[in-house]
């Protein structure tokens, strides 16, 4: 089902021309500009594939191209990430059941030389960190190219309908969706070449040069050669173990935001949210705004982990928050129909007799993120496990340069924090990359120092403490 009325968003403005795609032979109306998975979901298709061994149904999970939950066969080609692949007129979509194979009639594509792009700074990832890196590297004098595997720029900003915190010069009081538009405008004014729907699948060193191997629209090879690279690949949502956690209807919080806020597709009728950090709290408010009932937010910790003000917003709309509660299992026939939760004691054991059943069709997991460091790992950056930053992260200096000279990191891929700090880190990394590329004048060091000071102030409160502990373990110099 598609959403029409919304207090913040206008979907009619973004929905393109109507096209027809075919799901297992059946025609489905879709709109240009939306991805296959979103169009299918809007048409009521919630099972995207079956697992290979046990044939268990699988639905969406991340909806930003980072997991394998929505892989389908598109025009005969298996393993297409339908959540980031745009619909095209006449597309044939099928579920995968067995181990997928290429159709026998398929011939390998004729070899042709890849498109070759050269730049001073290559930025991988077009979220808040990547966009700020590209803008600032460009201002510092670098020729910049930016690639992102999603069909639009903005990263997770494009689904953030809430207003940001911080100082007004850091976009405080402005909604995430608006910040994404503003940064895109800034990019447009500059000579930054942008490659969308382009996945960076390899990051290599070639002497002093860096090579990024990109795949555009699932088929076309693009080779990027640069003096420096900024990796701003974001993060991946965490899953927690419980019975039937793979059932269609159990989604990452971000996937639900993508459905309802980016594409205007109603995720369900009744939702249980797991996790009362900022993501879970914000999601509850957004669901209410989209006209979806939130039955409760459960949180295993004894207190709310996100900002109190986000909690107060949902409480006064009548949404309960159950601290010291956890999810035990999802129940249903091939899809979520119920969620069973229970209270925890001080030792994290389930208290017998406290089970509660919620009749829901969606269970949203807002249980944290882990940094996406695959490319950094591949190119040989030194890595350390730092729980305060969300998992494995790279060692870097105060200008965001990793242990591989010329490779920079920024945003959630450097450690889980938030968009405001991601933008500041992006600025630092972008200028740092332009300096190492030898194109920026030393005056730009002042800009880096200013951004470092802003980060310090932002992190100086109680919410910054954990991040600062983590940073002590990975920032050298």
């Amino acid at each position: 089902m598609r959403l029409s009325e919304h207090p913040i968003l206008n979907f009619e403005r973004v929905r393109g021309r109507e096209v027809t795609i075919y799901f297992e032979g059946k025609p489905i109306k879709a709109h240009e500009g939306e991805t296959i998975a979103m169009a299918l979901y809007a048409a009521g298709v919630k099972t995207f594939q079956h697992s290979i061994e046990k044939h268990r149904p699988r639905g969406l999970f991340c909806a930003i191209g980072k997991c394998s939950s929505c892989l389908m066969k598109v025009n005969g080609i298996p393993n297409i990430r339908t959540c980031i692949t745009l619909v095209e007129e006449g597309m044939q979509i099928e579920r995968q059941k067995e181990k997928p194979t290429l159709p026998k009639t398929t011939k390998p594509p004729k070899w042709k030389e890849p498109q070759r792009i050269e730049a001073d700074v290559i930025v991988i990832g077009g979220g808040p960190a990547g966009m700020m890196a590209a803008i600032n590297a460009s201002d510092a004098g670098a020729k910049v190219v930016l690639l992102d595997e999603n069909p639009m720029l903005g990263g997770q900003l494009v689904k953030q309908t809430h207003k940001f915190f911080g100082k007004r010069e850091q976009f405080a009081g402005v909604r995430g969706i608006k910040i994404a538009e503003m940064l895109q405008e800034e990019l447009k004014k500059r000579n930054v070449e942008i490659f969308l729907e382009t996945s960076a699948i390899m990051l290599l060193q070639n002497g002093e040069d860096k090579l990024v191997v990109g795949v555009k629209k699932n088929k076309e090879l693009v080779e990027f050669k640069g003096k420096t690279v900024v990796v701003a690949t974001g993060a991946m949502e965490r899953m927690i173990p419980f019975e039937n956690n793979d059932m269609p209807g159990v989604y990452g919080a971000g996937a639900i935001q993508t459905l309802m806020n980016t594409y205007g597709v109603k995720p369900g009728d009744r939702v249980l949210i797991v996790g009362a950090g900022n993501v879970g709290l914000i999601l509850a408010y957004q669901l209410y705004q989209a006209g979806v009932k939130v039955e409760a937010i459960v949180e295993a910790m004894p207190k709310i982990g996100g900002y109190f003000v986000h909690a107060a917003k949902v409480r006064r709309l009548g949404i309960p928050i159950l601290t010291r509660h956890t999810i035990l299992r999802a129940e249903g026939n091939e899809k979520v129909e119920r969620a069973v939760v229970a209270q925890l004691d001080e030792k994290w054991n389930v208290i017998p007799g406290t089970e509660k059943v919620f009749e829901v069709d969606v269970i949203a997991l807002a249980v944290g993120l882990r940094p996406s460091i695959e490319l950094l790992h591949q190119v040989g950056c030194q890595i350390k496990y730092v729980p305060e930053l969300g998992g494995h992260v790279v060692i870097r200096d105060s200008r965001m340069e990793t242990t591989v000279k010329g490779i920079f990191v920024a945003g959630d891929s450097a450690g889980i924090e938030e968009a405001t700090t991601a933008m500041l880190e992006g600025k630092i990394a972008g200028i740092g990359a332009a300096l190492i590329a030898g194109v920026a004048s030393p005056e730009w060091l002042k800009e880096i120092e200013d951004a470092q000071k802003e980060l310090e102030v932002f992190r100086s409160g109680p919410f910054g403490r954990k991040v600062l502990e983590g940073l002590k373990k990975v920032v050298v110099k």
Partner: protein
């Protein structure tokens, strides 16, 4: 570890708990003109209320500090209510035996002036009915958030923090 405050266990502030963090204005001040009340008990990095206030009535020692409103300086312009990213600023004004509470309203539909609405307390419980007396629509709000002022019985002034619009 210091003890967890009740508001973080529950997700809302009782009026008693609010008073521990915010010194509320006295009745004289509440009768003079609308006055801004921050329901923001937790140190978070956020400053728009202090930055936007035209009379510098919102004090903040550092960006992570709690906002403190100097009620005598507050002119009741509602800019802090409009801009606050946490939707945590409200205004209260006593008139006779009624109170007018100004609050953000980002829910569809936005009520019209004169419309009767259901009053919700801090845990979403219906506690009565009120009448909308002013609306600042989203386009005119400095913070992209519609602001409504609702008239209600005086005794509900410190309970009501949201409304529900019910239309046939």
């Amino acid at each position: 570890m210091s003890e967890t405050p009740q508001y973080l266990k529950e997700g809302f502030l009782s009026v008693e708990e609010l008073k521990e963090y915010v010194k509320l204005p006295d009745e004289d001040r509440l009768r003079q003109r609308p006055v801004a009340i921050p329901e923001c008990p937790q140190e978070i990095p956020c400053t728009p209320c202090a930055e936007i206030c035209p009379t510098n009535a919102v004090l903040m020692e550092h960006p992570n500090a709690l906002p403190v409103v100097e009620y005598e300086k507050c002119i009741g312009c509602s800019l802090c209510v409009q801009i606050c990213p946490g939707l945590a600023f409200f205004m209260v004004h006593y008139i006779g035996n009624k109170a007018r509470v100004t609050m953000p309203h980002e829910i569809f539909p936005v009520p019209k002036v004169g419309e009767e609405v259901i009053l919700l307390n801090r845990v979403g419980k219906e506690v009565g009915k009120g009448k909308v007396v002013t609306v600042i629509p989203r386009e005119k709000s400095k913070g992209d958030t519609p602001i409504i002022t609702v008239e209600m019985p005086l005794k509900l002034a410190w309970d009501v923090r949201a409304v529900k619009v019910v239309r046939e």
